[in-house]
């Protein structure tokens, strides 16, 4: 067990090192950021001065070493547009995004698990069709489109919820729903197939044929079987929530990281983009590390693999 955890940890560190190198070079293929960041009327001297200030004129390897050194202590320089240290800005946005991702996850779970369970028990019924259909619909509906519809119907026409911002508990309902709607599909399918799988297991079948299995135990078996993949799905879907939040946070003016991504890209704010990319990668890698550990605890088989 310990050996497994250690090797996973080492892997995580290596991955993060790779991310840093990748992020450094990814941003450099764009060419010279100087022309964009200085105002149109600026003189050539100012451009040169700016290039010096940012260190863009040093040899690439020196820049890389500098970048890595800074990254280790969380220093990605100042955001060019917002004139303040980039990493703290990103960290500051984390709670809002976690809140949104969490709300989306809860919404998805509340809808998807019952639908998946019922669908798995009674495949082919109308509830099963509904579950599968909602799942497919969630995967096929562009979130920005759904978000705008939600705002105009629930905020403007009905006046039930605020149309934007993160002011009260009511504020999270609409963006949380849109976030959850997209993730629902995977959950419905997962629960459904796990349910069906356990139904088909020999020991359950035998037990059932002998009339030995009360519904409660049955559900307990199923739930445990569902729980294991569910843990991993939560870990993975956080990474996707971050992607989806770019759209949802922009439309709902939700002050999270997705919104920051949109602005950083709009202003071509290199240090900020780098800080966001590294930070989100760290969060995702940590999440997946944690889910692996949780997995190892829930599912003893893992310990003996690798």
């Amino acid at each position: 067990m310990q050996k497994y955890l250690l090797s996973r940890l080492l892997q995580a560190v290596l991955i993060l090192f790779g991310v840093l190198v990748l992020v450094f070079f990814m941003v450099r293929i764009a060419g010279d950021p100087v022309n964009l960041m200085v105002p149109r009327e600026a003189s050539e001297e100012y451009r040169e001065e700016f290039r010096n200030m940012m260190g863009f004129n040093r040899p690439l390897l020196v820049q890389l070493a500098d970048f890595m050194g800074g990254a280790l202590v969380g220093d990605f320089g100042n955001s060019l547009h917002f004139k303040e240290p980039a990493m703290p800005m990103v960290v500051h946005r984390l709670p809002a995004t976690l809140e949104l991702a969490g709300a989306g996850m809860i919404m998805a779970i509340v809808v998807a698990i019952p639908l998946g369970l019922i669908g798995g028990f009674r495949p082919g019924t109308w509830i099963d069709s509904l579950g599968r259909f909602l799942g497919l619909l969630g995967q096929s509906t562009p979130s920005f489109w759904l978000a705008l519809l939600m705002i105009f119907f629930f905020a403007v026409d009905l006046g039930w919820f605020p149309s934007f911002g993160r002011d009260s508990i009511k504020s999270i309902i609409l963006p949380g729903f849109v976030m959850g709607f997209g993730g629902m599909g995977a959950l419905v399918r997962l629960t459904r197939s796990a349910t069906m799988e356990i139904r088909g297991e020999d020991y359950i079948r035998t037990a059932r044929s002998k009339g030995l299995l009360p519904k409660t135990i049955y559900i307990k078996h199923v739930l445990r079987n569902v729980l294991i993949p569910l843990v991993s799905v939560i870990g993975v879907s956080f990474g996707y929530s971050l992607g989806g939040s770019i759209y949802i946070e922009t439309i709902f003016a939700w002050p999270g990281m997705g919104q920051l991504v949109q602005q950083a890209i709009g202003w071509r704010d290199y240090p900020l983009i780098q800080a966001i990319a590294v930070f989100t990668s760290v969060v995702v890698v940590l999440m997946s590390l944690l889910t692996d550990v949780a997995y190892a605890f829930i599912d003893p088989r893992i310990r003996y693999n690798d």
């Binding site: 764009a30 060419g31 010279d32 022309n35 964009l36 960041m37 200085v38 105002p39 149109r40 009327e41 600026a42 003189s43 050539e44 100012y46 700016f50 200030m53 547009h81 917002f82 004139k83 303040e84 800005m89 500051h92 946005r93 809002a96 109308w126 069709s129 509904l130 599968r132 259909f133 497919l136 619909l137 705008l148 519809l149 705002i151 105009f152 119907f153 905020a155 403007v156 026409d157 006046g159 605020p162 149309s163 934007f164 911002g165 993160r166 922009t250 439309i251 709902f252 003016a253 002050p255 999270g256 919104q259 920051l260 949109q262 602005q263 709009g266 202003w267 071509r268």
Partner: protein, 546 residues
Amino acid sequence: MLSFKRYWIAFIVAIAGMLALVACAPTTVIETVVVTEKEEVIVTQEVEVVKEVEVVKEVAPPEMPVGTLTVALSTFPNSLDPPQTAERNATNASQTMFDGLMWVNDDGGLDNALAESVELSEDGLTYTFHLRKDVTFHNGDPLTADDVVFTYDRGLNGGFEYSYLFERAKSWTKVDDYTVEMTTEAPDPLFLRMMATTLIQPAGYHAEVGEEAFVAHPIGTGPFMLVEWEKGDHITLAANPNYWQEGYPKVENLIFRPIPESATRVAAIQTGEVDIVQRLSSEEAQSLLGATNVQVIRYPVDRVYYIAFNNLTSGLDQPTMDPNVRLAMNYAVDVDAIIDALFDGFATPAVGFVTPGNLGFDNADPFGYDPDKALTLLADAGYPDGFEMDFACPAGAYTNFEQVCEAVQGYLREVGIETNLDLMESGQYWDLEATKALPPIFGDSWSSTLGESINRLEGALGGWDASYSAWSDPVIDDFMAQINTEMDTQARADLYGELQVYMRENPPFIYLYSPNAFEAINSRVQDYRPRSAEDYNLFYTWVAGE
């Protein structure tokens, strides 16, 4: 918002339809949408014209600041520190906390603000500013000459992007506590206007708390004081009780809410969550006409959109070096149709680089759409079958500009000029524009906040000396040099006029249009007066019914 209810129904029906699809019932989704569509259109067609609502004042403005005014911004202010604000929204938010020595009033004229009086020396090089003695910063410190000197020192030496703006002054010295003397290299007719945009910051407070704390929580002499700034969410300000303009401001709490998506701004003004929304498209403004308690405002913006020609690099051996070809291209584009289709008619065709509100505007007729004349001119120039050329425009930077460029491409095609339009992400675009690496024709726009066009002219036509220019013409250079040093307003106006005539005969651009800005306000908002430079003052704005 009937249309949206309909749409929602359509959506539900569509969901039901797809449900049926999965359950294999033969229902087609498209048809359900169809039905709602029919009624939809009737709704939109009822509203034809944007009416400019007369603001009816039911009661007099309050004596004391009362109520809360919430303003939606279309971007996230990057900073509230005056020399560091990067764009209009940030400047506008910052401007509520600060004052300059001068002030551009709502008629576009210059008034004294923190300066009680200004004297200009005989040679036109030395300005003496006498400061008001009754002004304090938000922390209670009185405004003195030291603060003005500090503002200039910081602006020039602070390492800011806009430091070069302060190079306009040659020197600034404190004469006594309430007198500052500034000099310029040469007579500068626009120097005082620059003073209006230079907001005075407190030397004492800055020294006390340091650069970082000042940037995080700046204070000034302005009508509102910063209470809280939650990045990405809101900026909260409160009325300054000791504001030097007696009886102002009129609202107690001022809140800025950044909402980047314009459709969300349209929703938020209808729900009453915000009182002022800016930067709407004409379509969005139109959709708000039926909404209760919402007024739509429209005003012309001091910005010219154009397709520029290049005679410095990529355009050198191209047909566009011939002025007749450039004239032909101006006649080939139906600017009126573009304005009708993309701006619902709410834009003014450009007749040059001097806009209607600018000094020296000569009110000439636009070129007009005349494809036959264009074809004749092209044939005379030796291109009866047209030619092929690269064309670039920035994407995502300006309202509908991608579509404008596509339309221009379509019109040029009709007179035989086949263009390869490259719509580039704006950052990359301006990179190339700065290195003069764009194709022979490229689209852009230029605004002006000075009430005059000289910056716009220099920026777009300054040749190799200007970062974003791809055009050089000695005649134009000569005009610009004269305008820059001519202190007499009428003489300057005449120079602008002559230059415009020249620029129409030898067009360095395909002139497109000056747009209108659309905003919407809650009808309780009174005395909100945005200007053509897309800025506004909020100290006299008030909310009724509080």
